[in-house]
Structures are given as structure tokens and as C-alpha cells.
Assembly symmetry: C2
């Protein structure tokens, strides 16, 4: 437990920590083969279970994903509360608590997917949360578990712990110095993988990367977390080294990049999400290095709130792309501090 | 004379008006064939003539171009006080008055080149100035003049009036709308030509263009000026039409371009002259259209003072390119108003 108490100290680089547990009900076909009425029953079963529980100390809202508008569905994905795939499944639902740090998907690839998220480097705490949710659900349902293989899942890659632990890291200097490709190779050796912020196959917007365990079998949850934790710590160290290297050898270059990014963000009248993320990443780096006086929390919020769905949600529903780009620029100008 | 009094009203588009008169001394070989001691005599002759004159109401400084440093020579060119070619000629000199609106080159391509420059659209006034200088010199020397061909010059393209009249125009909207190439063709029909700001073969930095008469023969000075004047007035009208067209049909696009330019200029920590000119051009356009609150005079000054030689001169001599780019960024930040 020794290292746990220091977890929280890496917020300059670690945006968030997440745990996902995949679970399936014993004796019930996987969602892809599940008849609709049984899928509905499953949603009710989970909801009732969460409703009567008091141990988690929080209430859950049920959202039936097939019944909400396109933008609301987009918002759920952008907030990482559901997966992009969930929307396409019949009877798919998600249960979300008030803080939006627990979400439980029903009828995704697996019957149940428990997701917990915390700001900063808090893998162990996040795991405890997910574990607590798992315990609550186990009071109501029997999860399919094989003595040798562990939890059974629709996709074999999740068999075992059914757990995916991940950290979202801000790696602008490793990106600037073209270190990401080398990192991919190294991470694979540790059974880890690196992705963009919206999961598999997505681009690394704003130099944000998710690093997570590839394997779910052959190690305990705690071992998997310790492994990810240790490797993430190495990456954080490397990112920091590269930051100071650029700062020491090429300060003007770095300052110029950061202030130009700030200049465009605080003056543009129209900007898309991709460019915003790229520039916010630089300002975030500048703030971390105390080269520019901007609040990291504000930058983190902006990185979330300028996403198309969330932004449209804030400013009243479906917007055209042109309007959204204009409103995004206004939104950023409102929240960035003038220098 | 009717239109003259309105000349001064176009400073949003006309940066400056210039007149150059090429003259050669009767019975003396052109500079390319002139022995050194005679070239020196010529310089003294012109200087004495200017020194004893009182009609121009200004004093002249003599600069022997071969004796000054590289940067000082560069500054003279950037300020349009000498031509880029003058530096390479032995015994080349320039006489400059205090306001720097009269400069007289000796031993350039011709024995004497009188140059006058005024801010804004003041071709006629500028011509009167050049004419007055011409009169002063004619009191001391006999200029080679042929009854049929007019003033004789080293290059046949200058024979006749020996005059090149030009206006420097800021044409960002015609540039944005890709109208410059069409304009080149039209101008040729009027015996006019269009160039970048440092003369033949130079790039149009900052959307600034020099328009001048191609022909010097077959028309009087006043006719040549009237022709340039009328065509320039048409171009000014077109530029203004295009400005309002972009403004009316695509205001956000234009505002975005202008404010991003301002954002970069007011935040960059390193910037070269070419990019500076491009961005200053947009801010100048924004100021003209009252989309941004920046002083046109300041922008005009910046467009001159960020040139490599002038900037180095202001900040103390020869600078490396890296230092110059850094100092240029500082200089621009100091003079631009924060929004």
C-alpha cells in the first residue's frame, strides 16, 4: 500500500484513472444472442439492485440509450460514461450516479459493464470503487465465473478479471519529441496498450493518451493495476524529463508555441474541436511549466466541454457545424484568462 | 487640378506615393563606364549643389554607400532611400534630407536619381517635390536631353521623362479573392506594372503592391501621373468592393482570420518578417473595416520597422536571425494595443 498515498500528486500529467469491469449473468446468453424481453428484464434487474442499495451512498439515473436524442448519446460518449458501441444495441441502458464517476452499462458487449473514473492518478482508489459496485450487483445476480478462467465475457480478450484499468495521460513533450511510437512497442512488452481518448482506433486529440492493460488473464486485478501503475509512473517521469529538456535547450521555441496557441485560442472567432485540443494541450503544458498563467482545471474542463456534443448540449441542442465552431471559439475566449 | 485635393483621402489603401527621376550629365559617360575620379567628382558636384541651395528648405546628409556597414546599407534599401543595386557600385552615394522624403542617388545606373516619397495618395504633390529638386540640380549641371527623345538614360526603358511614378497599395481583399493575376494583365494594357514592395522581382509581402508606369516615353510627366492616378483610383475602388463583399458574405471567416492574426502577433515569442507582414496585413484590414481597434499608423510603422535591417538598427546593430526573430516578436507585442 506504500505507494498509494502518493498517487494523487501527478495531476500535471495524469488527467484521470479508470477501471472497467465486464460481467455477465450466469445462464443467460450474451447480449448479442439475448432476446429483447430478457434484455429488458436485465435492465430492470440492475436498476432495482442499484435502487435498493445504500452502501454506495449515491443515487443512479437510468438512461435508455435508444430513447434519447443523437446529441445526448454523443454527450454520454464524450463524457466517457458510455462506449461508442452502446448506442447501437437494442435495450442498451446506462446507470449513472450524480458525480458521474460511476456508470454501469447494461446490454453492451457484455451484460454488465461497471465503469469508475477519478481525476488524477488514483488507480487503486478507482478500483476500490468499481469493486464496491461489483459487490452490490453480486448481491442481486450471479455472475458467470469459471474457477480456472475467471469471469466469462463475450469477447475472449476480457476473460479472467474482466477488468480494464486505464490512465489518461497528457504527453505533449513526448509527442513533440516523437517518442510515442517507441512507447507503443515498449508498452506491449508489459502487456499494456496506448490509445486515443475515445478508445480503440481513435486519434490522440490534444496529446491525451489512454494507457491500459491488454491482458485480463493470468494476473490478479491488483497485479494488473500495480503493473499499469508502475509503467505509468515511468512514462510520467519520461514526459517530465522531456519537458525540462525542451525547456532548457529550446525555451524560446517552446514559449513561442505555447503563447501562439494561447493567442489563437483567445482570439479565434471560429475553431473546430481538433484544433482546440491541439492548442489547449500546449497551453496546458505551458501552465504546468509555469510559462503561462492559466488554470489547469479550467484547461481540463475546456478539453471536455469543447467536444461537439457536450458543447451543443451547453448551448441548447443540435447546432450546425458552423455555429458550433463559432460558439466553441466564444466559449474558449470566455474561460481563458487574458494574459 | 480638380481631383488633386482629394488625393489624401485614401490612406486606408494607399500607403505611399513615389516619384523617381533618372538624370545624366551631358558629355559624361554613364556610370558603368565612368572612371572612378570622375564618379567622385560627380558626387561632390551634386553635394555642393544641394549644400548651397536654399529653395528646398531642407539639409541633406551625404552617405557614401560603399563606406557604411552591411546593416546600414540594408536599412537604406528597406526604407526605400536607395535601390538594392546602389550598394554594388563604386563611388555610389546617396543624399538624404531630414524627413527622409527626398533622396538623391549618385552613380546608380544613371548619374543621378531623384526620389521623393509621401504618405498616402499624393502623386501630384510628390511630383512637384521631385520637380523642385530637379530644378535645383539643373542650376549646377547640364542634364543630357534630346529634343525628340527627352532625357537620356543608361537603360532605354527610362528614356523620355526618366520618370517612374508609383503608389504602394495595400490590397488584402483582392489578394484573398485571387484578383492580383487578373490585375497584372489589365494594368499592362494601361502601360502600368505591379511589383512587390522592394521593386522588380520581389514578393508582395503583407499584401503590399507597388503600381508604377512601365513607359517613360510618348507622354508627358503629367499625363503619366494622371494615368497612374486614374487606374490606382479604380483599383482602390475594387479593393474596397471586395472588402465589403467578404464582410457581407463571410464576416465570421474574415473576423476569425483577423483576430487569429492579432492573437499570434500579440503572443508570439519569435516571428520572421514574412509572417509578420502577412499577419500585420490582416490586422490592418481589420482596422480599416473597424473590426478591430488597432491604429493604422502603428501598423504602418510596424510594417517598416520589423524589416530585418531596420529592426537590427533599432536594437543595436548586427543580430543573428534567431535573436532578430525574438526581438521582432517583442517589438510587435510592445506596439500592438491589447484587445
Amino acid at each position: 500500500m506504500g505507494s498509494w498515498k502518493y498517487e494523487d500528486k501527478e495531476r500535471d500529467i495524469v488527467i484521470s484513472s479508470r477501471i472497467r469491469l465486464a460481467r455477465n449473468i450466469k445462464g443467460m446468453p450474451f447480449p448479442i444472442l439475448l432476446p429483447e424481453h430478457k434484455a429488458r428484464l436485465l435492465v430492470d434487474l440492475i436498476f432495482n439492485c442499484l435502487e435498493k442499495d445504500e452502501s454506495l451512498g449515491t443515487e443512479f439515473t437510468k438512461i435508455e440509450v435508444g430513447r434519447v436524442g443523437n446529441n445526448e448519446r454523443r454527450v454520454l460518449v464524450e463524457k466517457h460514461l458510455t462506449s461508442p458501441e452502446l448506442g447501437s444495441n437494442k435495450c442498451a441502458a446506462v446507470f449513472i450516479n450524480k458525480n458521474e464517476d460511476i456508470s454501469i452499462m447494461a446490454n453492451e458487449e457484455d451484460h454488465v459493464r461497471i465503469q469508475c473514473i477519478q481525476e488524477g492518478f488514483q488507480l487503486h482508489k478507482t478500483y476500490e470503487m468499481a469493486n464496491a459496485v461489483d459487490d452490490v450487483l453480486e448481491k442481486c445476480v450471479d455472475f458467470a465465473y469459471h474457477e480456472k478462467y475467471g469471469y466469462l465475457t463475450a469477447c475472449p480478450t476480457n476473460v479472467g478479471t474482466g477488468m480494464r484499468a486505464s490512465v489518461m495521460l497528457h504527453l505533449p513533450s513526448l509527442t513533440l519529441n516523437n517518442q510515442i511510437n517507441t512507447m507503443i512497442v515498449t508498452l506491449a512488452k508489459f502487456g499494456l496498450t496506448i490509445r486515443g481518448i475515445y478508445g480503440e482506433g481513435t486519434q490522440a486529440l490534444g496529446d491525451l493518451y489512454q494507457i491500459s492493460n491488454q491482458n485480463t488473464l493470468g494476473m490478479t486485478e491488483r497485479e494488473l493495476i500495480e503493473n499499469l501503475h508502475d509503467v505509468a509512473r515511468e512514462i510520467i517521469k519520461k514526459e517530465r524529463e522531456h519537458r525540462y529538456e525542451i525547456l532548457n535547450t529550446n525555451r524560446i521555441y517552446l514559449e513561442d508555441k505555447i503563447y501562439r496557441a494561447f493567442g489563437v485560442l483567445s482570439n479565434a472567432r471560429s475553431i473546430n474541436a481538433e484544433e482546440s485540443m491541439k492548442l489547449l494541450s500546449l497551453v496546458r503544458l505551458g501552465s504546468d511549466l509555469e510559462l503561462i498563467d492559466q488554470d489547469i482545471g479550467t484547461i481540463n474542463d475546456l478539453m471536455v466541454n469543447i467536444q461537439p456534443g457536450i458543447l451543443s448540449g451547453i448551448y441548447g441542442g443540435d447546432l450546425t457545424e458552423i455555429d458550433r465552431d463559432r460558439i466553441r471559439a466564444e466559449h474558449i475566449r470566455k474561460f481563458l484568462k487574458s494574459e
